[in-house]
């Protein structure tokens, strides 16, 4: 069974890595599939967008957990697998890990409670910093991808025979130091934690793990120590979650991540994975013995929690706290975001959009802007422009922060408005033709008008989608044309993009 887990999890790990490295070929289908498998983004999508697919993913994940325990943590969580890989590597290279049972305090429930309250209060920062999928995404998108691209490109440079022709070099996405450094700290911290304490992250900070624990406490299939136990203690040594107390033949199943190491380690077949029996043998369960007093306490605290959360949400507490600068509210964000506010309130900062953007204009925000979120994406038109025929980022967003757009919808979604400073234009300054902006404009909102034998740019902002092509190609320094981002995206009047071409009746040569 452990073998099965290892095979599945390594497969999952490779698929997630491929999706986030987004290297070489097109991984869009894979990215579309994996975005549905993650709990926290799906919860955000369900909560704020009432998405039916997100409901399905959440329901399936919770149901599977109710049946089988936290299998999700060992089989499908990419960060979980990364931690297992770290543990494995440190075991091979440094020392043999020996785990021993440790009683888990309720710290993580409080921690997750704070995350939930903060989300309700209107800030995603604690969630952005602790969602395992997003941490994994940031590690791969911000650190691994540049490393992979640099490595790949230097291989091409070395094997110069390929350099002359073909194997094409990849473009590195813009490196945002602040996001890179934080991701690097996470990378190291998770390595250290995994090497020293196994799945400590999962049972201390991880909100996904905590939410699943609430259910796995009552799951139908679980792991038991039976009468064949000879008290050798092997299972406790290999338990990554340190949830086996062999001396009491007890397993703290809510902390079990279902790695199944114990099943393999037991030479006496004394550990079984089987249907729940009436035996209560969890040390925590013994402590939480159910009494009227305890039940009342739970009901009161939960009601209080819910009431407090509702209060925070209705007050939009963070909005009161923060004084958003105008610039932050009108940042350029990908089409499909609806508004900056929409993105801010949903994005878990997994950076999948950063990885998939073919022109690398989606970048993590360069510094924390406000208290609403951290590392959330913005557009940088210095790197390129938003491809008119592309909807990739909207298709891969797991949290519904960038809503899926059809190509027709995307082509009329305006994320900004063109602003022309004619006095800075090459044509005005040098009296020579240029026209780079009009040349690149996909909608015809920038076009040229002749005056005294020269062609000057003119803009029609009613057609502008804010793709940034004109800004990117403008050769003036400082730029003569730019895009003023919209805080709330608008929908333009549909263009007659599929008119009919004319056919000439008399087809004669004009020479």
């Amino acid at each position: 069974m452990k073998k099965f887990r290892v095979i599945i999890s390594i497969l999952i790990f490779f698929l997630f890595s491929a999706a986030f490295l987004n290297f070489g070929k097109d991984w869009l289908l894979l990215q579309k599939i994996i975005k549905e498998t993650q709990l926290i983004p799906s919860v955000m999508n369900l909560m704020y967008n009432l998405s039916s697919t997100a409901f399905l993913s959440v329901a399936v994940i919770l149901f599977v957990t109710f049946i089988s325990g936290r299998t999700y943590c060992s089989f499908f969580c990419p960060l979980g697998v990364l931690q297992d890989i770290f543990s494995f590597l440190s075991k091979k290279s440094f020392r043999k890990q020996k785990f021993s049972y440790s009683y888990k305090s309720h710290f993580r429930y409080y921690f997750t409670g704070i995350i939930i309250l903060s989300v309700l209060a209107g800030t995603l920062i604690p969630l952005n910093l602790s969602d395992p999928y997003s941490i994994f995404g940031r590690i791969f998108s911000d650190i691994m991808r540049p490393i992979a691209v640099i490595g790949f490109n230097s291989i091409i440079d070395l094997s110069a025979s390929v350099k002359i022709i073909i194997m094409t070099k990849q473009k590195i996405n813009e490196i945002i130091p602040y996001s890179l450094i934080v991701s690097a700290i996470y990378f190291i911290a998770i390595f250290v934690l995994a090497a020293a304490k196994g799945r400590a992250f999962c049972n201390m900070f991880c909100p996904t793990g905590t939410l699943l624990s609430v259910i796995s406490k009552h799951s139908i299939y679980r792991i038991y120590i039976n009468d064949k136990c000879v008290m050798c203690g092997q299972c406790e040594i290999v338990c990554k979650s340190q949830c086996i107390d062999y001396k009491n033949s007890a397993i703290d199943f809510e902390n079990c991540v279902m790695c199944l190491n114990c099943l393999k380690s037991c030479s006496e077949k004394a550990i079984e994975y089987k249907h729940r029996t009436s035996r209560i043998n969890s040390p925590n369960m013994k402590k939480d013995k159910f009494s009227r007093k305890a039940a009342l306490k739970w009901i009161f605290s939960l009601t209080g929690f819910a009431a407090f959360g509702t209060l925070l949400q209705s007050l939009k507490f963070v909005n009161l706290l923060t004084n958003h600068s105008e610039a932050a509210e009108t940042m350029p964000v990908p089409p499909g975001c609806v508004s900056v506010e929409h993105l801010r309130s949903r994005c878990t900062s997994c950076h999948l959009c950063v990885s998939v953007c073919p022109t690398n204009i989606i970048v993590p925000s360069a510094a924390p802007d406000g208290f609403k979120g951290i590392f959330q994406p913005v557009l940088n038109f210095k790197n390129g422009y938003c491809t008119y025929e592309c909807t990739r980022c909207s298709q891969v967003c797991p949290a519904g922060a960038i809503l899926p757009l059809s190509l027709e919808e995307k082509k009329i979604t305006s994320i900004g408005e063109v602003q022309l400073k004619i006095e800075k234009c090459i044509v005005t300054l040098q009296k020579t033709d240029c026209g780079a902006c009009a040349e690149h404009c996909p909608t015809g909102s920038v076009f040229m008008k002749e005056k005294n034998g020269l062609h000057y740019p003119v803009t029609d902002s009613s057609k502008c989608v804010g793709c940034g092509a004109c800004t990117y190609v403008c050769p003036s320094e400082p730029l003569a044309i730019s895009v003023m981002a919209r805080g709330i995206h608008t929908s333009l009047k549909p263009f007659t993009s599929d008119g009919i071409e004319k056919t000439e009746k008399q087809n004669e040569f004009n020479f």
Binding site: I164, E389, T496
Partner: protein, 306 residues
């Protein structure tokens, strides 16, 4: 990765040596990179047929090609793949014409046929959505990338007035035959984009040209890159909103195709096709005013109707 496109060590070393030799001879930079058939301008114009049929007829009726040494030569076919749009929008060269051209040169025994363009939009997407990547590959060509500066080499332009130096794609520098295969379109600021302006697709920094007097720079560029054959795709002609186009209503189905050994003749003929006076197209006037092909009087024209 397609195996046919990999270069063997031997040819690579050969190329290295030749590149080093070439670089060590200063006179290299002063010579004209492509020797066009300066003598007599010929032009064959074909009309009324599918893009493929017109291309075939053009090759058949263009007398220059039959005597041309093509066997074992390296050929660069340079279509316009500037934009990430579908073939119906006419912003890129028709893929049918590209594939017929590639097929022709392969049948004539060309050692290798490259197809490439430094796209204005994202290169990968443009290669795909223009249909040219698929058409060229199935015809046996190699789709070369042109999206990174490392593929380009610095070249002096001795007779350049504004553009003194630019970076040109290494295939454009090393190929034996340069086949210029533009699509005829109007252009917001240069009035027309056709054969001469299509050469902006083999240089690295096209925006430099925009900032240094576009017309003069195009003329300067044409003093150093001289395609042996120019083929103009005037099947779908963009009569407004060029060069990118916004809708199919910008297109007139002209059903024509021109082939010439002289870039001035073919641009002059193309300008007339767009109902423009060649004198009004500044880069063409600057470059071709005193060349024999400019007024088409001295150009030997053959007209073919299918």
């Amino acid at each position: 990765m397609d195996e046919s496109i990999l270069i063997t060590r031997k040819t690579f070393l050969g190329k290295c040596v030749s590149v080093i030799l070439a670089a060590s001879i200063p006179s290299f930079l002063n010579r004209e990179i492509f020797s066009a058939f300066e003598s007599q301008p010929y032009l064959t114009a074909v009309k009324q047929g599918s893009p493929e049929a017109m291309a075939k007829a053009a090759f058949l009726n263009f007398k220059f090609l039959s005597t041309m040494a093509i066997k074992n030569k390296t050929v660069l076919v340079k279509p316009n793949i500037g934009w990430n749009v579908k073939p119906e929008l006419g912003a890129n060269t028709n893929p049918g014409i590209v594939s017929e051209t590639v097929k022709y040169f392969i049948e004539r025994g060309a050692a290798r046929v490259y197809v490439m363009d430094n796209s204005a939009d994202n290169w990968k997407e443009s290669y795909t959505s223009s249909g040219i990547e698929k058409a060229a590959k199935s015809a046996g060509a190699i789709m070369a990338p042109a999206h990174q500066e490392s593929y380009y080499q610095s070249v002096n332009i001795p007779s350049g007035k504004k553009l003194k130096k630019t970076k040109i794609h290494e295939i454009a520098l090393s190929c034996d035959l340069f086949i210029n295969l533009p699509v005829l379109k109007t252009h917001h600021s240069t009035m027309m984009t056709c054969a001469m302006k299509n050469l902006m697709g083999v240089i690295w920094d096209r925006y430099e040209l925009h900032s240094l007097d576009l017309h003069q720079c195009i003329a300067d560029l044409n003093t150093v890159i001289k395609p042996q054959i120019n083929i103009v795709d005037a099947y779908r002609v963009m009569f407004k909103s060029g060069p990118r186009g916004t809708s199919r209503s910008d297109i007139v189905l002209k059903n024509q195709l021109f082939i010439s050994n002289d870039i001035v003749s073919i641009d002059s003929a193309s300008a007339r096709t767009l109902n423009l006076d060649p004198n009004k197209i500044k880069y063409l006037a600057i470059f071709g005013k005193d060349k024999p092909g400019f007024d088409l009087q001295k150009t030997e024209i053959k007209k073919v109707a299918l």
